[in-house]
Subunit: 590 residues, 2 copies
């Protein structure tokens, strides 16, 4: 059973991501180290004792659709209500709507626990977080007054309705349409697919945020508007009114996250209780500026998906380590022993487990650092733009790396279990099934790589990424200066990786500047991995420097630097190739 790694989470937040320094500066409001520890402890307790025991049953039963209603697995409604009663939904919510205004980095860390205990549970409330962000930034006073309190408390949940069958990653092809009404409201018609938690019985109302197109809208992404469409209309006194004309037509039968209903939503079929066809909606932000509103939510939504991968990866590592310590097979290589050895003593099993641990630790550091950058971008100060760009730069990596790691680590976790890993009751297989969606949704990891290379590298003329790489290099210099033998060849290897990162970065910037986008795109995924491995390994070293008394930190940073990090040079070769071999080889796909 999952046990939240509370100590490691707190350590990474404080000493790697930057929260310690922020607390010392008094930039985190009421949040002190003691309060932080208390919150993490309590979240860990809830994740371990309340959520984790529901995960296997939730997977087995799954969400069930019948007559346009979705029933969640037994006990999940109660679980959700215990969770919101604990105040967990409003951690980052605005204080004037009942939230606690805590940092995003802390929230991300806590979401690691919810997702580690059950990704199908953890995913739901992140959609509500997105709805809160959108309303807070772009909603009218009336909308905010009606919806924010309940979305912050979790009494109602939110959804994001983007995807349509013909428009997956490509929002310019959206067809859902919105018609203006004289009272300032709109009527929405169309279908949306892959809507996470689009329908369920956890809450009495569901607040959909829906992208649609007005009749006179320009073509493409500049003609998209954002609307709020509640499942039930809300009366002036806040009580629930008529059933709106939006229904769940079906849910998907998926590889994993079975307890997370993935809905096809139909707007405007004329079967609501409003007396007319068309789902009643309210504009959020300006007409045709829906995409800008979406971007408000994008950084943190992507971070929270990264956190899903991280949570599952941690759960998989822990489960595999537990198994490897118990399971005995073969003779030990430890001198003087004759008994069967726990398989953790076999070199290849230890290699798998250390690979898992290094990847999880790096992914955690990158994700939390991105959360910290988001927090600082929201604080007043002259460095606000610096941090906003830092957050933008880190977001594609914070989404892609932990989600790739989620799949890799869950798959290694099965391998460590041997035949038992393939048996569903063991639980290792579920983690792979759950993890497999995270590299896909909220922008596939390939799209993250395109975003990183074409939009994030050019920020401030390349100075944003250069400053970040320089910071990473400072860590390496500190490793060198520490003269600690337990870092092995870490600094040499990290230095070489940073050189490769710098070289590929400059080359990509050059290509982008010259309009040679094709060359830049071909190596985008390789670059994203190169960057993430390098940054992640630097962060492991940073942690080891901050906590010199724990020898395992330096040993793990060294293991990564000496065995996983050398990959960056192959990745660098792929980037520098500029897609020449890729272009030549497309003939093999004809």
């Amino acid at each position: 059973m999952y046990r939240a790694p509370v100590g490691e989470i707190g350590f990474t937040l404080r000493h790697v991501a930057g929260l310690e320094e922020a607390m010392a500066r008094g930039a985190t409001g009421d949040l002190t180290p003691d309060l932080l520890d208390a919150i993490l402890d309590e979240a860990g307790r809830f994740a371990d004792s309340e959520i984790a025991p529901m995960a296997a049953g939730g997977d087995k039963t799954g969400a069930v659709w019948r007559d346009r209603a979705v029933t969640m697995p037994p006990g999940w409604r109660d679980l959700y209500h215990r969770w919101i009663d604990g105040g967990w939904n409003g951690l980052t919510g605005p204080v004037d709507h009942g939230g606690q205004g805590l940092p995003t980095s802390l929230s991300a860390a806590i979401y690691e626990m919810w997702n580690g205990a059950s990704m199908a549970f953890g995913i739901g409330p992140t959609l509500t977080l997105g709805a809160v962000d959108a309303l807070e930034a772009h909603g009218t006073d009336a909308l905010r007054a009606t919806y924010l309190d309940k979305l912050v408390s979790g009494e109602w949940m939110g959804t994001m309705n983007l995807t349509e069958p013909q428009a997956g990653s490509d929002l310019s092809a959206l067809r859902t349409r919105a018609e203006r009404r004289d009272d300032g409201t709109y009527r929405i018609f169309g279908s949306k697919i892959f809507i996470t938690f689009g329908e369920h019985d956890l809450t009495d109302n569901i607040v959909h945020l829906v992208l649609a197109r007005l009749p006179d809208a320009p073509a493409g992404v500049k003609g998209i508007s954002l609307f709020l469409v509640p499942k039930r209309l809300v009366n002036a006194d806040g009580s629930l009114g008529a059933r709106n004309d939006v229904f769940c037509q079906s849910i998907e039968h998926k590889l994993g996250i079975h307890a997370s209903p993935t809905c096809t939503m139909v707007y405007g079929d004329g079967i609501g209780e409003t007396g007319e066809a068309g789902a009643v909606g309210w504009l959020v932000g300006e007409e045709n500026k829906g995409l800008a509103c979406m971007f408000t939510m994008m950084n943190s939504a992507r971070l929270y998906v990264g956190i899903q991968g991280l949570g599952v990866a941690q759960a998989a590592f822990q489960k595999a380590l537990d198994f490897a310590r118990e399971r005995r097979q073969g003779r030990s290589a430890v001198p003087g022993t004759t008994d069967m050895a726990p398989i953790v003593e076999h070199a290849d099993v230890a290699r798998m487990l250390l690979t898992m641990k290094a990847l999880v630790g790096s992914a955690r550091a990158i994700a939390y650092s991105c959360g910290h950058a988001i927090d600082r971008s929201r604080q007043d100060g002259e460095d606000r733009r610096f941090w906003a760009e830092r957050a933008s730069l880190l977001t594609p990596m914070a989404k892609s790396f932990p989600t790739d790691v989620g799949v890799e680590v869950a798959s290694l976790g099965i391998q460590v279990h041997g035949g038992m890993g393939f048996v569903e009751e063991t639980g290792a297989a579920r983690l792979l099934r759950d993890a497999r969606i995270a590299p896909i949704y909220e922008g596939t990891n390939g799209i993250q790589a395109i975003d990183l290379v074409t939009r994030k590298l050019p920020l401030s003329g390349g100075e944003t990424v250069r400053a970040y790489i320089a910071e990473l290099e400072e860590i390496v210099t500190s490793v060198e200066q520490s003269n600690r033998p337990d870092f092995g060849r870490s600094s040499e290897r990290l230095r070489a990786a940073i050189a490769a990162l710098r070289e590929t970065t400059e080359r990509l910037l050059e290509w982008m500047a010259r309009g040679e986008t094709g060359a830049a795109l071909a190596g985008a995924t390789a670059y994203q991995r190169l960057f993430s491995l390098t940054a992640g390994n630097c962060y492991l070293a940073k942690g080891a420097l901050a906590d010199a008394d724990v020898p395992s930190r330096a040993a793990l940073a060294r293991f990564m630097a000496e065995t996983l990090l050398p990959d960056v040079h192959a990745l660098s070769a792929e980037v520098m190739d500029g897609g020449e071999s890729l272009r030549a080889a497309t003939v093999a796909l004809n």
Copy 2:
């Protein structure tokens, strides 16, 4: 739906694995190029039109256990009987027992098709193949007379009963016991787990080959004997007699291959019809020499598991390519186009598909080459030992590389499908679920790596592996001498990879010679991957040299050499490290 890549399979068999030359020498009996093509075409037709349509249903219903009986999914018994009626079970079987005595390489190629159409279907008959091999090599005349004809025709199926709960990969810990009876038979008592096709309704009898221990047997693997235990005893006239005292107690609920029943078998519970407790068994080979009999089957059993990974990988590649050609998203990067482009035109999708194709092609070449080596090791001639050692050398790679590739390619296949890949109806997810077991069973891929490094490299004092590497280098020399620009930097990259392969090989041999097994084991998995990538890429180049008119072959070999192959240098660094960083890091697992 799966379409067997008959042309590619035939090409690889003939021009890469060596069958063309063997046919020219007349070393393949009646097998001529025309007959080869006819057999492959017919197998492809059966795989495409008979097996593939049953795969999704087989996955959904799965094998069902009730009252110690296992019911296969609807239609599977008929499917199996159409398959054996087509003579497919006896391809490699001994001619004097009704088999066709065809080469293992051809059989392996055909099994790629069965597994590509449905791995759950393809796996069953490979157990029968193992039973045929064991009986042919070690069975008494009486046993051969009673069982071989029916196992060769497929009227009865075979199983391999090795694993016990306390003894997974470690056969020395087996506890199943065998008692001698005065009539020369034995009685077997004990439990076995993870027995593939241990019980089912495809055939009226099932022939179990069971490892067990005699009361006076030495401890460890030198005290294991092999027994034949039929589900139903066979009367003197060949008709079926009493139900033997062996029953299926349960089947596993697994991640994938749902239509392949994975059974817990109980021997000697006293509920058969023989009038006494203990399953009646007959010794195969000599007492306490059971492991030697197992080794007879091991090379080809491992090859056939590799073929499972290959078949699934090919199916996943094909499905993803079909989707990527149809699915339109985003603007094309092709100049002059404005419509939405098929996603295959996007660089990152093309990169994924080419990676899949290169990995599948390399895995195919390695597996078929191993099959060819097995064939030549069975032919008379002074080079018999050479080929036996070549087969031994290639076996761990032929098992591990295609099965790792199966998981990697199936996972990439899901990614290419985007959100649709996570929906079970698409079928991409099933391929990952099925593929995930192959790196585990028949010796985990970690165990293959240990076998490669500790037992295969030292063959003939290292000359076996050196001769093989020299052959790979000859391919590179031919690439160089071809002066073809479409090979790009292939020969340079391949040359560098071979240098790394040679250096790591010599280092490992040195360590083994000095008894520094720990250093050798730590890098075994990295070495196995390094070796496989290098050999696989050389084989792609060999195919391109043999078929200069098809530009896609050289382009694919080049793509692999320039983007995937550079990994070998990171892997080489890991091997040369000798486990130093691994040993230092084990503190992080405490």
